[in-house]
Point group: C2
């Protein structure tokens, strides 16, 4: 049956131009071409195979990841790949590795928080991988509360150095990827202490290991934090623990784009009055040299601990967070679409019940119960794709505004990014697991690809802002917006709709309670706000011209499914606020059923449009040709347990049972 | 800090008698004593340690499981444990193993479906573990649709044998635990063919492996199906694949308690007319000997393929299913309570934000957002415990009735068992993962115990009846009940409430659609029915006398939380049917918040009442004394990656990167 497309009949049913949809999914013809080429390059290179991953021991898995990372880098160099192509290659290699953090956090942190001098010194080393960096923020005792980090960086004006120290067990750095065994350098976050005063938490470039023999430098205790969820997943990554024992680093290794500690002999005298935006030119005058392209200084501290704060918003410091969270939202649609692709294809292959006169059984994708769980996830994958594109635009927009000293959209951008990070990652993690369940028993096999996908994905709900904590930030933003409704400050952008609730708010102000007391309800409100965002951006996408036969029609169906599914799921909110009647709710439900029928013939083509190779999918259940059963059967025999017919342990542990000799057996 | 109870201040807050609650949770003073003794016995025996599980390779893990199973059996024999105590011991050893299936399915199947002769022959062997059995039902191509199984058992009257055969690839047995490497025998399910006629799917005792050298018998291709979800979990189990090539077994190895194939020379002449209940005495007359204590024969087939069917309900055949599903419901509360115990204790240990004047930060259990996610799960654990007890009673009741030829409650028992299996396993799997997320980043570590708990538990949503398929069965039962409302047959028992909806049904009969078309909605109705069951049984429990200071009050709070949480979650259903007004919904929400505050001081004591040892919990985050951070730190260093400071692979893969020698490196 090799070479036969078992899903050809499904593909023939589709009512739209799949190639055109591939371009919509990729974002542009160029993006499609790059993705297509690089994904096939990775898939066809045996150096990147990953089907053997689940049976490796921790050490084997980790070593194999080191090999792949090196091999990927060699490929990038040999083929002269561009930065865009190199990033795609790492994406399609599809294995968590220290390189993710090096490229995704270490380098961006230096770019975002480093002065121009610091960038000139460190970035070339990092770009060539002459140093390998990690991002050491989280500690054993502190994650969400970054300002509560306990690691200290005490300035010693005598030597012009910072002393980095871990004063308690809970101040041990804990979780940073790449830290455990690989990274030579870290951006370590620590509480800055100057002249005996605490000056907030800031980032410092700290060398961890010798560049000659890779041994940890004096004063560092560093190791791996142990096994994590899943049998492959992040066990390929050396998430680490790190304790500092009075480690000294030069003053110029504090990231000083936004916050600056002055050495002895420098003072706060200068053109800055403390009220003015302390911008590039002024700062360079003070420093006697260029500070950095970012150049929005928030805080300046003298070696005696005196400080001046500009009125540049402090959130500016968290610019790197905006960037990282935005990429997380973009990745959500990748992970969800992958799971949906697997579940959709397998649902078309799998048949169960409903045989008529000895004919084939019903494809499980034809069951309404399957459709009502699967198709909203298919719609969500597309919805998240488009909101991710919009968020990327928003990030570019806010960055541009900041360059022009316009901070006005920063709070909104923060709220959107935080909220969408929370919404899309929660929905994606749940959606992957739902897809796994939709594959029945076989979804529990590693060869389905879904357990690994879940275990790799689910920490996204926690890292870079715990999802509930983020929703509370959104809720605070919404409450602030509501509180200002009476003022002259009219809400614009993504919160413009709030002008309409002004009247409502005036009608119902009976209850006066604290934010904390009502936080669980406020979190629900924040979720609703974010869902509105996703729906709006999907609708806006549909207002654009979208070429290709039937493409826009399919997207309209998916958009309606997404919106009506949410309405159905949260009908209590709509009903209790009188936005809809029970009759409306029933009609929405009827419409949803009808939309599922419209998606059904196009389902396989809609997941083909993701253009995933079988290598990237990493799932027998989701393989393109649908030839599932022979592949499952063949894969089983590769398990290490099948290396011998009679298992290791038979003579010691099974035979004594059967022979009633257990009392004298050595166990 | 060894020996210090870091949660003592929490325990001192509690307002009820924890020891009395322990007995309520255990079910009886006797059950408490047995559980307490056996769990401590397991915890204190280094032969049962499990903290090293996550770093073992597949083969090491499996071999270690074989050792533990043998060691458990030795312990049972050495200590002369009763059957009850032995079962508890296996439970607290807490590792999936072939013994689960041997004791939990193989033996019950012989008891339930075997004739008395068969029981006399096979049970003593199985009880002594002279044979090890598995339960080979599911195939590569068929799970839910048992009647679609493709394995054939063709009767050969010449030799008085059945020929067991796997005619297709998809007919390969696939998934049975213990099959892959250990079991010597299987109950294999196959399509019975007699005289060229198909007579439905039945169970056959088939020897798989030599009792001398453990090699598979001729005609058997058998092996392990490969890695599954999680790094430990069911990878300790040899879920297997099995193909039969015309394997012959004697006629008396078909399980014949309910269905009988007659040998040559026997005929259907006899006292049975086909309409009468074919009970024990009549059957034994025909067979010339006792048939079995179960003795309700459904079908008799001659060697020519002629058959007679009694009017004993066919569901009787699925009695074993009732039993197994009932135990699954009982296990749900164990798994959920374990996760809740871990998350609750860690939420009291973990502090984040909210430090006042340099004082300690707020315990995360004090955040309303944490409470609103955690406490409904705590309430669910108790709710499932009590509904599990009730279901056990229902099973005993229906079994007793069947003995007295009363089949009237069988459909209701089937619906309750199927529905509760679905409801409790879905909620428990989701609840475990929610508890993991409630532990923040550290919940992702294997040492939290939660990844393993999830990976071990989640297949319960799929095995022994896929949860959506089961809900559709409940929905069918409900629809049948509704359709009979107009007749003289009044609903009783768990569906008595339906008499009240009679009027409603008559008012709204506008829409006429097929079951399949509306199945997604019917599934929602089935869930609502099952939730009503859980709430009702919790309320009934509270109507009993419950000794111990404050115990009943605590349970009342939990019952209210469970009910109001469901009302809040599904408020759309209540609002759209006019059962409540938006005002009611808001009041319920207020009440819920107030109930959370009442639970708060008792939370730790309420999870202490589960009486779990640290060994059984298997979680650093959930350890009794709350001394989390030093234990996490200490555990990290045991990872194999920390065996060397410089990792294996440095010279081949890291150094060439740093030294810019990647192009010439051998990768």
């Amino acid at each position: 049956m090799e070479g036969v497309d078992h899903l050809a009949h499904e593909r023939n049913k589709s009512e739209f131009d799949v190639d055109a949809m591939k371009i919509v999914w990729a974002g542009s013809p160029h993006a499609f071409v790059v993705s297509d080429r690089i994904s096939k390059l990775v898939a066809s290179d045996p150096g990147f195979r990953k089907d053997n991953r689940s049976t490796l021991s921790r050490k084997e898995l980790f070593k194999n990841t080191l090999r792949k990372a090196a091999y990927a880098w060699k490929t990038i160099i040999d083929l002269h790949l561009s930065e865009e192509e190199a990033a795609k290659l790492r994406f399609y290699v599809d294995e968590p590795a220290f390189t993710d953090v090096h490229w995704g956090m270490f380098i961006p942190a230096i770019k975002g928080q480093g002065t121009e001098e610091q960038q000139q010194k460190w970035l070339p080393l990092a770009y060539k991988m002459q140093i390998i960096g990690c991002y050491a923020q989280t500690e054993l005792g502190h994650g969400s509360n970054v300002q509560g980090l306990e690691t200290t960086a005490t300035f010693d004006p005598q030597t012009d150095e910072f002393i980095i120290h871990s004063p308690t067990l809970t101040s041990s750095k804990w979780w940073p990827g790449g830290l455990g065994k690989v990274a030579t350098h870290a951006i370590a976050y620590a509480l800055l202490i100057v002249g005996g005063r605490e000056q907030g938490v800031h980032g410092f470039i700290v060398q961890l290991r010798s560049l000659e023999d890779h041994s940890p430098l004096p004063g560092m205790t560093v190791g791996d934090i142990g096994m994590k969820f899943g049998n492959g997943a992040y066990n390929a990554m050396d998430n680490g623990v790190l304790r500092f024992d009075h480690v000294r680093i030069p003053r110029n290794q504090m990231l000083m784009s936004h916050v600056m500690v002055l050495g002895r002999g420098s003072s706060l005298l200068g053109p800055w009055g403390g009220k003015t935006d302390f911008v590039y030119s002024q700062w360079s005058a003070l420093r006697g040299g260029p500070v950095g392209a970012n150049g929005k200084v928030v805080l300046v501290v003298t070696c005696e601990g005196k400080y001046k704060q500009s009125d540049v918003p402090r959130q500016l410091v968290y610019g790197a967070m905006l960037y990282v969270r935005q990429t997380i939202v973009a990745d959500a649609s990748c992970a969800l679409s992958r799971a949906v692709c697997i579940a959709t294809r397998y649902s078309a292959v799998r048949r169960q019940f409903g045989s008529q006169n000895g004919g084939p059984e019903t494809q499980v994708i034809d069951y309404k119960t399957q459709q009502s769980r699967l198709f909203p996830l298919l719609a969500s994958a597309y919805a998240f794709r488009f909101v991710g594109e919009w968020l990327k635009w928003l990030y570019a927009d806010v960055t541009q505004r900041l360059q022009a000293n316009d901070f006005s959209t920063l709070p909104e951008a923060h709220a959107c990014t935080a909220g969408l990070k929370s919404l899309t990652t929660t929905a994606t993690a749940d959606g992957i697991e739902e897809c796994r369940k939709l594959c029945g028993g076989h979804g529990y096999l590693c060869s389905s690809g879904l357990p690994e996908l879940f275990a790799v994905y689910v920490p996204a709900c926690t890292y870079e802002g715990e999802n509930t904590v983020l929703l509370l930030q959104v809720a605070r933003f919404l409450m602030k917006t509501v509180s200002q409704l009476g003022s002259s400050k009219k809400p614009v952008g993504t919160i413009a709709y709030m002008t309409r609730v002004e009247h409502l708010m005036q009608c119902r102000c009976g209850v006066q309670r604290g934010f904390a007391e009502l936080s669980a309800d406020l979190v629900e409100a924040a979720v609703a706000h974010c869902q509105l965002l996703v729906v709006s951006k999907f609708i806006e996408k549909l207002q654009q011209e979208i070429p290709g036969k039937g493409v826009k029609q399919q997207l309209e169906v998916l958009c309606n499914i997404y919106a009506l599914f949410l309405l159905h799921k949260h009908q209590g909110d709509f009903l209790s606020t009188g936005c809809i009647t029970p009759k409306h709710a029933a009609l929405a439900n009827d419409e949803l059923r009808s939309l599922y029928s419209q998606v059904r013939p196009n389902a396989i083509a809609l997941v083909d449009a993701f253009n995933y190779t079988d290598h990237y999918l990493g799932s027998i259940l989701g393989c393109y040709d649908g030839n599932v059963y022979p592949k499952l059967y063949e894969a089983a025999w590769k398990d290490p347990l099948n290396e011998s017919v009679v298992p290791d342990g038979y003579h010691q542990y099974i035979r004594p049972l059967l022979k009633q000799e257990i009392r004298t057996a050595r166990l």
